[in-house]
């Protein structure tokens, strides 16, 4: 018995030793709830080292769908929210969860499809017409279906095209952008994606951009400081510093400079 309790004591000590020290003693850091599209594109890998070097503030990014990111921020599990669903963001601020929303940058959505192009939408600019053709042809279409910014945008586009997307051709994956692309490409479906994710996506198969360039496909990103009045734990100072830097000339310039294969992924448009 004694032998055993000793063993257990050793085990407990080991376990305690294995428990992380982070969270207690660490350098200043902030938590950003953001979207998979920005994270997967590699933008943060480009931006954050510059900011961290300048300020010494570590930026931890949690990449989830816009809907979940907003929900997490409402639960006070973030200092900064960086997403792309303007209406939901404005509601977030209006409800008192955020301090103020800033335009940060934009890119655009595109519809990608297989080489065979069953709905013959390749080269189209009018997204409403393209969606109508896809629906008429009952060509497979893979939707995020996860309440993300991209999903919300897609739903509003179907609405303006006055189509109720239902039927076996409309496949809701309920997952992130990358997973939806993998699934869509796997089954030969059209997929609406933001351009940044598409450019950086590594498993394109025989897919190419079919529909692009419609003003309705504009994709605006915004950044919001989580309201410290609602969430006392928010690191207001560091979070504001990050937002200020992103919207500053320097931050905007860094966003502009981020390219993959010679293509610019995000276009800065902060009003400052």
């Amino acid at each position: 018995m004694k032998q055993i309790s000793e063993k257990f004591a050793v085990l407990s000590i080991l376990t305690l030793a294995a428990l992380p020290s982070s969270g207690l003693a660490q350098e200043a850091s902030i938590l950003v709830q953001s979207t998979t599209s920005t994270a997967n594109s590699g933008l943060y890998d480009h931006l954050l080292p510059v900011f961290e070097k300048k300020t010494g503030i570590r930026v931890n990014v949690v990449a989830v769908g816009t809907g979940q990111a907003i929900k997490n921020a409402q639960n006070c599990d973030a200092d900064v929210l960086l997403v792309h669903a303007k209406a939901a963001e404005e509601q977030f601020v209006k409800d008192g969860f955020g301090v103020q929303r800033f335009d940060l940058m934009y890119n655009d959505f595109v519809i990608v499809g297989p080489d065979s192009d069953p709905a013959k939408v390749s080269g189209m600019k009018d997204v409403k017409a393209a969606l109508k053709q896809i629906a008429d042809a009952q060509a497979l279409f893979a939707s995020r279906g996860d309440d993300s910014g991209t999903h919300k945008k897609e739903q509003s586009l179907w609405k303006t095209a006055q189509i109720e997307p239902t039927g076996t051709w409309y496949r809701s994956t309920g997952s992130g952008m990358g997973a939806t692309l993998n699934t869509g490409i796997g089954m030969g479906a059209y997929v609406m994606t933001d351009r940044a994710t598409w450019i950086s996506f590594g498993n394109k198969g025989d897919y190419a951009i079919d529909v692009e360039g419609d003003d309705a496909m504009f994709n605006q990103y915004g950044v919001i400081l989580v309201n410290p009045q609602n969430c006392p734990n928010v690191k207001t100072e560091e979070g504001q510093l990050f937002i200020d830097w992103l919207t500053s000339l320097e931050g905007q310039d860094e966003i502009r400079k981020y390219e993959i294969g010679g293509q610019q992924l995000f276009f800065p448009n902060a009003s400052k």
């Binding site: 982070s22 969270g23 997967n40 409402q74 992130g176 990358g178 590594g202 734990n233």
Partner: protein
Amino acid sequence: MNDMTDSLWTALTHIVTFNPDLVEIVLLSLRVSLSATLLSCLIGLIIGATIAVSRFSGRSLVIIVMNSLMGLPPVVVGLFVYLNLSRSGPFGWLGFLYTPTAMIIAQTILITPIVAALSRQILEDIYEEYREQFESLSLTKSMRTGAILWDGRYSLITVALAGFGRSNAEVGAVIIVGGNIEHLTRVMTTAIALETSKGNLQMAMALGLVLLCISLSINILVSSLRLTATRLGYA
């Protein structure tokens, strides 16, 4: 097939060159899963041993519940832990969300039922064998518990391995409570999920192979330990 060989090649180059990012991810994975395994062994073995030597009404119900909990979906555990550790949840003040601690907690909850249920079975078999002798010796319950835990130690290692395997392989819980934050909470499985979602299937596969190698080496190590124990007559 070509993808597979490419993945293998990528995996090998990363391992051989000790890619620092990969090393960081592997070490964090091991730290999280091993801590969770140790913690769940502490809790689970005590529960398993206690039930093994106890006879009370509702015992079989407890065992059924425990066995069912072995199949807890990681995502559900992740959500449960998230709701508790969220700043707006009851334990938000601890500031554990999106830290390795949160991941350890989630995995501990996930695998404790496995350790408890499997060890209960093993220890009960040993106890049934020893029971009459213990009765004859008039041993106290704590002595009996201690004796079967010690005598079952080599079999219980397999239980710990099962727990470790499950925690090391799951992604659903850690991605929710850890957030897959680079350099902070990114582990093997969340990195694989991320690479997959980026469409970098080759890299994802390579990471998967690394994960497999880790679990293989740990299992070889433990199996040889067990073999030695069996040969020496202690298992």
